[in-house]
Amino acid sequence: MTGRRVGWGRRIFRILLAMYPPGIRKSYGPEMEEVFRRSLEEARRRGRGAVPRLWLRTLRDTAINAPALWARTWRRARGGGVGVGPVAAAATPATTTRGRGDGMGMDTLWQDIRVASRGFARRPGFTIVALLTLALGIGGTTAIFSLVDTTLLDPLPYPEEERVVVLYNSPEPGAAFVGFSDPFYSAMAEEPAGVLSALAAAAPGRANLGGDDAPERVPILRTSASFFEVAAVPPLLGRTFTDREDRPGADGVVVLSHALWERRYGASPDVLGRTVSVDGRVRQVVGVMPPGFSLLGQEVDLWVPLALDPAAMNGTSAVNNNRFLVGRLAPGVDLRRAEVALTRALETVRASFPDAVAGEHSVVLGSYREWLVGDVRRELLLLLGAVAVVLLIACANLANLFLARAEGRRREFALRAALGARSGRLLRQLLTETVLLGLVGAVVGLGFGMALLELVGPVVPPEVPLPDGGVLDGTVLAFAAGMGIVTGALFGLLPALGAMGTRIGEVLGAGGRGGTRAAGGIARRGLVVAEVGLAAVLLVAAGLLVGTLWKLQAVDPGFAVEDRMVAEMSLSRSGYPTAVETGAFFRPLMERVSGLPGVADAAVGQWIPLEGAVNWGFEVEGSEEGVRVADYNLVGPSYFRTLGIPVVRGRAFEWRDAVEDRPVVVVTESLARSLWPGEDPVGRRINVNIDRRVWREVVGVVGDVRNRSLGSSPGGMLYFPPVELPFSGPRNMSLVIRLAEGADVTVANLQSSVATLDPSVPVSSVRSLGEVVRGSEARRRFLMILLGGFGALALSLAGVGLYGVLSYTLSLRTREIGVRIALGADRASVVGLALRESGLLVGLGLALGLGGAVAVSRVLTSYLYEITALNAWSYGTAALFLIVVAGVATWIPAWRAAGLDPREALQAE
């Protein structure tokens, strides 16, 4: 833990080091890092605030010494050189008279930088608040931008990426997309117009890898040989498989991922030609793909031929639309033309299997990137918008800070101008100050951004790849630096420009509190109103998501979650060719696992609810409706009991159901209602094998389960005993365990139970069912946590802004307050004065903000569950939070002002 935090500190320090001249970095960089590292360790030992103090000191140290060393480097380049003696306090550069050409030189720039950093060092309070404000805004924006950059902007590693397309099957106009059946795939692969230069089918899965080492369970992709043509990425070593190897019987080959090659084979080139065992089948390694290669699926360790059997193309294969297709458009072919040509190719299949293929199937193409990124694009842009709001609030605070400071400097500027400083020179000095602040703010912000990424890393959904080097990527660095310069220059310079226009007479004369201040006051109040409004929008958005997750937490998923554990295991096809052998393995395994200490019940199921669902075509006896579709699962006898799913009618499965000649099925309540409304479903029959009618009898009805997501309504489901279905066997099964209350079970115990039956079967992914449920809501939680965080940040920044403005306004009214107190006003009436002022600002800001939230929250609608975008609770809470923070921000300066000693107050000016 400590070591990790030290690692962080050093990374941030490295960003600071980047500000020093290259010569210094080269000669002394590692040593400086070492000195910093040891100081950090020491500060950590000392504890209690020593670490933040060290960081502040280090920031100041960098802000002063980095420019100084740059200046020395430049002077050296010009042939200068001075001794170690104390540098005499330089005459204020702004007032020195110089030749026109000289004024533009590096020397002037250095002087400006030096004066600016000294100015900042003299007002540490102002500098730290300004820097932190800027850094928080830039840090958040940069972190989110780095996610946007890797997810949406980075080019994908395939040549002519835009030609790679994903194919969707639309069974009816307007219906949800499904995959393709094998006959559909073959028809399109042979499509005569040649709109695709390559088309590949793929089926992701997991397999047991053995042969030479300990068995290991790895993610694989079974795919046609054309897959590698679609990707157009050559292998690093060897070759990919050929069309001839993509046939049953000839497919004893495998291509390895770079990661697997390094991990398991020590990156040895001798791996080519070696044989490995994949799910018990011996295959020869023919190639290794380059690092990071992946198309369809984040992580794949093995690619094996799909080897479709042309002889097996029949009615059943024609209704099972479970293949994933990806293609490469032929040069010059657009999506629309390809869709038309491919849809036409589907007709031949519908003609060949008129009984099986119903509906108006048509092909829809989408870009591969779109598929890869999906809805995440919207979520990321939403977050980028939210963090931009935080940045805006930070900028408003910055502008306020500079407004206040500019008024303090009117005297200085007026004097300088009176002494003959050209306004261009003054302007450059100001610009140097704000840009310097902006850049340092960007550097600190990068540190914040890195910390933020680290912090949110665990909740980032898997669809969003985390950037490799954190935020240290060229594009992101440029983005942060650009933002630093623009925000610094814009929000620092504008207020200062106002002050620069002041005439000497106005300042030095009696009218020191003239119209400029009034104008500044209005600008400052306007900024606070904007801050409160923007913060309100973010808080409402965060509140809506919190409400949604709250509702989802209360949703009954239809199965019990508490004290349930799940694990995965997989039997090889060669060791367990039919359901007879798998049954002979699972049945004693269930007895063993149930007998483990702490285990109350155990069962097997092919899928765990919420972890992916696959549907299956079936027909109902005596119905004219044709082929219907429902999610299905293969489950062992104790599955319903173990997961607490109620058996409403009939019975659950028994082991003999898996092998006996009397095929059975269990359906869910909602499916039973829709298939046989008002009738007893038990005893009715359905057929799941279109080619060879085998009627399965309904023996039981069980409660509905939210199978796809907590937020979706439970759809109808079919349960089969662990039997052999066409294309699906009970080999990859999940183990479900109900623990005795408060008990725990060790992975080693599970593994040894499995190993006593078959040591070649690995047990993997042991986790609690609670984790599975939480994982299914990962994206909503990600949005909620980040929006909530940004909302809190916006709230505190708005609070700081309000506090600053009120303290300042009250300090201007010191004399007035003094008179009031001297005339007998009590504390309460003075506090009331401040409350009226802040009440007006906050009220106006809230009205604008809540109105804005009504408009903006519609974007969130699709993320909400049983809560509308106009949920009063969320708006009320947002308003309450703002009012409380505003109250505190008002009360502190007001109470202080009310405690004024009237004598001092009246003498103050």
Partner: protein
């Protein structure tokens, strides 16, 4: 450049107080960056802090001016880290410290005399 040993020590006076503290630390023998930082801070009872930027800005300047130099001489090999660089006083550096100490002594004596007169 000012590395010329002919540069009279007087040219460097008065020394920046931090530079002086740093050179005084090196009178005890070669030291590495962090060691120098610690010694300077300890001896000033914490009134002087040397953060990496100021420390190495000073070290680089002193090296350039020829008052200190990097040395191959390493103290206790048990307590050593090969990544560290050790710095030692040059002859010029030594005479500059001496000259500054003498100058400060003069300043101090005068101040004491004045203070003594004041209280008498």
């Amino acid at each position: 450049m000012t590395e010329n040993p002919e540069t009279p020590p007087r040219e460097f006076l008065p020394l920046n107080p931090r530079a002086f503290s740093l050179l005084v630390v090196l009178l005890d023998g070669p030291a590495h960056g962090y060691g120098i930082k610690q010694a300077v801070e300890d001896r000033s009872d914490g009134t002087v802090t040397l953060d990496p930027g100021s420390l190495y800005r000073m070290i680089s300047r002193l090296v350039d001016d020829g008052l200190i130099a990097e040395t191959e001489e390493r103290p206790d090999p048990d307590d050593d880290d090969p990544r560290r660089r050790y710095y030692t006083l040059t002859a010029l550096g030594h005479s500059v410290v001496e000259a500054e100490a003498r100058r400060l002594e003069g300043v101090l004596t005068r101040a004491r005399l004045r203070l003594g007169e004041g209280t008498a």
